[in-house]
Symmetry: D2
Subunit: 496 residues, 4 copies
Amino acid sequence: MKQMDTKTLANYINGEWMEAEHTAPVINPATGEEIAKVPLSSEQHVEKAVQAAKKAQKEWALVPAPQRAEVLYRTGTLLREQKERLARLLTMENGKVLEEARGEVQEAIDMAFYMAGEGRRLFGQTTPSELKDKFAMSVRVPVGVIGIITPWNFPIAIASWKSFPAIVAGNAVVWKPATETPMMAYELTKILEEAGLPKGVMNLVFGSGSTVGDAMVHHPNIQVISFTGSNEIGRNIAAECGRQLKKVSLEMGGKNAVIVMDDADLELAADGIIWSAYGTSGQRCTACSRVIVHEKVKAELEARLLAKIKHLTVGNGLNEEVKVGPIINKRGIEKIKRYIEIGVEEGARLLTGGYELIEGDLKKGNYFAPTLFTDVKGTMRIAQEEIFGPVVSLIPVKSFQEAIEVNNCVEFGLSSSIFTQDVKKVFRAQRDLDTGIVYVNAGTTGAEIHLPFGGTKGTGNGHRDSGIQALDVFTEWRAVYVDYSGKLQRAQIDVE
Amino acid sequence: MKQMDTKTLANYINGEWMEAEHTAPVINPATGEEIAKVPLSSEQHVEKAVQAAKKAQKEWALVPAPQRAEVLYRTGTLLREQKERLARLLTMENGKVLEEARGEVQEAIDMAFYMAGEGRRLFGQTTPSELKDKFAMSVRVPVGVIGIITPWNFPIAIASWKSFPAIVAGNAVVWKPATETPMMAYELTKILEEAGLPKGVMNLVFGSGSTVGDAMVHHPNIQVISFTGSNEIGRNIAAECGRQLKKVSLEMGGKNAVIVMDDADLELAADGIIWSAYGTSGQRCTACSRVIVHEKVKAELEARLLAKIKHLTVGNGLNEEVKVGPIINKRGIEKIKRYIEIGVEEGARLLTGGYELIEGDLKKGNYFAPTLFTDVKGTMRIAQEEIFGPVVSLIPVKSFQEAIEVNNCVEFGLSSSIFTQDVKKVFRAQRDLDTGIVYVNAGTTGAEIHLPFGGTKGTGNGHRDSGIQALDVFTEWRAVYVDYSGKLQRAQIDVE
Amino acid sequence: MKQMDTKTLANYINGEWMEAEHTAPVINPATGEEIAKVPLSSEQHVEKAVQAAKKAQKEWALVPAPQRAEVLYRTGTLLREQKERLARLLTMENGKVLEEARGEVQEAIDMAFYMAGEGRRLFGQTTPSELKDKFAMSVRVPVGVIGIITPWNFPIAIASWKSFPAIVAGNAVVWKPATETPMMAYELTKILEEAGLPKGVMNLVFGSGSTVGDAMVHHPNIQVISFTGSNEIGRNIAAECGRQLKKVSLEMGGKNAVIVMDDADLELAADGIIWSAYGTSGQRCTACSRVIVHEKVKAELEARLLAKIKHLTVGNGLNEEVKVGPIINKRGIEKIKRYIEIGVEEGARLLTGGYELIEGDLKKGNYFAPTLFTDVKGTMRIAQEEIFGPVVSLIPVKSFQEAIEVNNCVEFGLSSSIFTQDVKKVFRAQRDLDTGIVYVNAGTTGAEIHLPFGGTKGTGNGHRDSGIQALDVFTEWRAVYVDYSGKLQRAQIDVE
Amino acid sequence: MKQMDTKTLANYINGEWMEAEHTAPVINPATGEEIAKVPLSSEQHVEKAVQAAKKAQKEWALVPAPQRAEVLYRTGTLLREQKERLARLLTMENGKVLEEARGEVQEAIDMAFYMAGEGRRLFGQTTPSELKDKFAMSVRVPVGVIGIITPWNFPIAIASWKSFPAIVAGNAVVWKPATETPMMAYELTKILEEAGLPKGVMNLVFGSGSTVGDAMVHHPNIQVISFTGSNEIGRNIAAECGRQLKKVSLEMGGKNAVIVMDDADLELAADGIIWSAYGTSGQRCTACSRVIVHEKVKAELEARLLAKIKHLTVGNGLNEEVKVGPIINKRGIEKIKRYIEIGVEEGARLLTGGYELIEGDLKKGNYFAPTLFTDVKGTMRIAQEEIFGPVVSLIPVKSFQEAIEVNNCVEFGLSSSIFTQDVKKVFRAQRDLDTGIVYVNAGTTGAEIHLPFGGTKGTGNGHRDSGIQALDVFTEWRAVYVDYSGKLQRAQIDVE
């Protein structure tokens, strides 16, 4: 990947690639090396981007949706052709292991084709009027300019969840990706350009949340903010958007639990936990950070987890043997360390891990040992707050009912999982677990792109990414009534 | 209606009717008479109501939805049986003429049956997983406790739009109706009780926005606020809800236009304008307050409107001959008067009306003469701001394209209408008019309950009342995946 | 029920009740008493009915669907008010026990409200055109005159499944009920009349299949035949309808199995089998007539079934203690007897029952002892052919896979059921059991009205009763394209 | 296209290309040259194909639908890459002009991507049960082996409408294309093979309807017949399928009218008529063969049509200037000639055309002059029967109402069109024209692939090709109920 070394990335505004005055280095979290420079844009860049988007959107909305969709089909094809290259770049900027990086690119590919399929759907409804000689229907119409703010942990997948439905529905986009992972944003935008997206429909503005993000949230010509990130920032965005009567879609934190019942296939449960807890080093919003285990099988589950953790190779994700990559940056490491201390102070028992890895080459990057606490109580801070690292808290319970209650006693509601053989428990769980996603006999990660993704309670504000539900925040419903009676007819009144 | 004189209304909390310490008089706007006393509740009432709702909701969510729906079917039946009585009460507290009051009660009846029909629908989706031996689906689940804040202008219809879908979906409700029109809230709650709604599922708390409304918006155990009212208050609610990551649905102001093209059936257009502009004395969010008229037919349209206005009897809505009832209160009158002055200052030409009516018995109530300005420019304040009274601004335009632009140049986006014979203009209009509702050859009012109701831009935040879309803010999507392969399968990765 | 004794029923054609020249006695299968006389109509009656329907349908289609639905809401309300009376009449003509008769009437009530809900739905789709300035949508339109032919075993429920969706969608109906159970048809038609259905929309013609049914199937002005009954007759109807290019919906036989796995809750399984096998004396198309049991639990299941069968009181269904009522007529008894002989000859082991009950008062009616064969092979005739009586064949199997295969090896595909605790088996079963309905941990009966009802393979021809899918055969899709570009635009060609 | 000369085509059965003993020549209708040899297969080929399909289908159904869809995405991509080559081949075997041939290939491309999009949709429904602790849903399941019989006039488009939804839904296919146009079938099958469709999922058997078609219709292991072709054959197929309780979807003839009202844009109407009447030489099921014209504009419309007809170059469709290609074969020519005679005898006035074209090179092919009758009565045979050639009958009418009646007075119900400026007439027309497709201000052809395609009355039997409605005949609904209460619960009975 020589050629990418310290490449200076550029904003993409109104179909032109424009470098910014200021930049920040992009660091490979696995090696500490600078791999690119990312623009630190100003409010002026946002202003230009919004004006370009506003103008382009009017034309784009008039392009028939099936033709808009052709751009996404081409995007999907280009992404597929470049999957391996993109995956490697993704690993370099984000740290996740190659296998996962490939999976993430695949997610963007799948979403491109899926949302392209909406070009010939975008279904509204025809429905009978209550009055004679009157016609009624609803249609989905674009909203206008969409501000998209995406995090570093799924730099291309989340971008695809948000931008593809926005685009196919006839909106224009101003996109601020995380400064940690700008290369995926750069590459995806390049591909959209190559796929023939008209200028101004997608505008990419790199920079900080406090400058670029803030300018977007405040801009009166951005009608929707679609944000994935921390609860704290999401809260501020939602407050400001509320003040402006701007639509806002939020996907934020999780404190996702795997429940292991006493009748579970423990080997399968352990595999599911390992994958969903330590994959991406726990830096997924759906990562498993709690295991709620029936006391009868607690000891055996612990043993199996410890055995599996021992075999988790930590290192540079470009190395195919590596199963756990680095933490995104030193701040991340520090946060995790603090929570280890908190956990210990709270009386949780540390079974393994709990420390930064600094041996050999690892010290150049940001690595943390896969960590397992046990004898955790559901109310402890390590069982309540999002750590965003490879840290799992085992919480023993005495019953199915208690497991459900512990699962539900956090402020988040993104994902949950249950391992059991019992069909009755399965159906109670899918009814009673209060998260937006429920897995049965699988870990807490692994959503498919055609189902709604998102969470309840503090995780979001009711909107969903992915699935056809993703269209909801990017379109408005328009009800259309045509009275062809030639006379004044009043609903509810002139009905026999 | 002797027996209702100065009846003291009560809150309904956890299935009990409880009077409050403080009350305010409810005044019939047509006569100035006190017709009831409405409780002015405190934060403690809200607290009790929320706790009751929280508790009741857990049980209610477990009642099968088809059985929850039975309560709404009974509600619809009871409303129908009492339609005439309710309509008269509604006229007394709100002022709208009897015919419209009957229409409004009918709307609640229709909504009861419609939402009851969701008991056996509430459709989610089954859809194939991308992995073998894996099952995927989405289900709608209730959100929890819904805070409903409703205005005085449709005291029972809007309440039905919000509470019926909330209830059938398995939520509990805390409802603050406008203090001007508490009797409809009282009656509807009585009927829900009689229909067998379990205690705590609907809780009615009368009082001011600053005390009761505020406490609801801030209460951590209310998960959704569904609000219809002014933009200013909606803005504050949305900001606060944003801060708390609370879901919020807003329906606010409109500045709705009827477009009259040069090929229009002018008699029909005039009828449509009269009905949608002066019905309910213009106090509808969808009321026509602008007429965008092609210059070729401007003179004739003015003449027809003036002729029709002359025949509009203004007075007490209980009198069947009356076509235009009172304004809700003196503050309303004052606001309208101010806008008359503003219009005149801006150079609009007053064709008729423009003054309060105070002759004879009218002086006891709050009446304003149906008012028509002409030669208005689209940018004038009277063509931009919501007046909420029987005041219409005629704006002449030279072309279809200009008409669309003038329609779209306001901050609101609720309703619009076009009168034309030309099918091409009809289909362009339904595409280009940027409101949430578009009427063709009908005025700006008269939505049917089974289509989505709500507006774009400053009118709302993307949610819709009525229609099946109303379910969106009262439910969360839950994606459920069941892996029955017995092994770890990873989406996007273990495909093929 | 004195007043019903030997009541002479009449046809209902074009809103008039008309007696026929010839009649046949209606016999209470529990007592052998004549309880009514049913008209044996001629082709002329059918002709009149079709002409009335054809004429009425044109007007009915123009009544707004929400207003058509009001008739069904009233029908549902009237059915509910008369539920107990109707249930008793149903027991008298059909024999099913009172509890089941009430359930059946409830089904018609539920269907009335459910299909009434379609009045404000009947959703078609709006969807973007691939060309600029072109609009596209689909709407559901009525087909015309529907011929409905219903069986005696669910005389009011099946009638409601077919007629209510047909009516709400804007069709007119000619209905030939089974001559064995005309009273439910008479009562339902009376109620539709009372509910305000315009004359000619529902036309009731009693009589034989060979005369009335045949005339309907051949009539060129009947556009759809919706038939529930035997495979032999269904086959002939479908052939004739095919020849005429008439739409036809068939629901026919079943040979439904309950699968009991070795991990099943055997008490629950036994309850489920007893209810679905011996309820309605096995005269349900979804009745369980096969039990596919894992050999490990075969003995215990047999023991539990025998114990429960012992407590099944057989007799007149009006007696609340009775659990199993009579067989519809002597022909039914004879058919069952033949199959008992066949089973014995094939080597099946008769565990209990196998004979007609003729002690005391039972001899006046048509009663057959609840019968259980065991050691049945899946290929035996008693395990392949529909007996339509209280006869169950236990088929032992060695594995889940074998159970699925045995279930699927019959020519029918209506209903199946599995009892197991194992979530993996549950999800495999719902995927692999090749019937139109699959139950888990419940018997083979008990469909709910809002889900599609019907079977695969020899049970039907792809259509479904109940659920919104019921609308499919009673409506045609109309695709509507409006080109408002003012120029010739060719799809697929003038794109891009 | 040298290499295609007299190429001998092969069947494709179980993934192998197999030549047949007997063949027939494939003649280019534009030149009379033999361009290929098509197998004339026997019942044994059908038998092998069905057995292969039956076996393959079991595996294919277990491939996750999103992966099945990948085959269609690749198919779409390959079709696009080969669009020009395929279009030229299509013109050679079918005769339609190149521009239309490209459009037809585009239709198959569009359908590939559209139906691929169903891989992640194929939506069924989750819906609440009426009983506690019970879960209910519906899923779409494949039917099994589908027999597809396609005509020569849209050899690749219609094949794509039928095979792509069948395949994505998990069925296997046995396909008999028309012997006149086997090359498109050959090419499409090649592409499906190249796209990775597993062997046995698509089986191509060339041959006659009387041998191959008949064997398919009678084969007990084919569960569905999807047929497009003549009414006579469709009728026989439907009768036989009925006898066997086989599902059958029919798309047959049309007698499609363009209505031209007195306010129509006559130039546009004439363009629409020319395109939909003489395109493909009128050999489209949706071709306009009637023009119902308001008497006020009859003369002018005739003049415009005559002027345009004069400029229609007839000839070999490979020549880009040619607008009207040949008739498929001499039988077609003879049939058209007969109808010209009939028309003249009936008293219709021949304005232009009416004869075979045999000058110069044209005599080698089968050409017929674009023909226009006027003063036709709606009841004449030329206005009632399908001619399938470039013959149009002008029928003057006095009113909108009469136009609707004339449109509806034929036995077919495929497509209709109205030219008018008047929005009222537009909406009445879309309600009252009794065809499955209605166009406004466009001719009778030009359906888009994502809307339901098909007709009412004698045109079909209620099923639809294309659109998501196409899935209906290729899937069965399965209702699944899971009772997790642990006790016997009876729907309709144990409620409340």
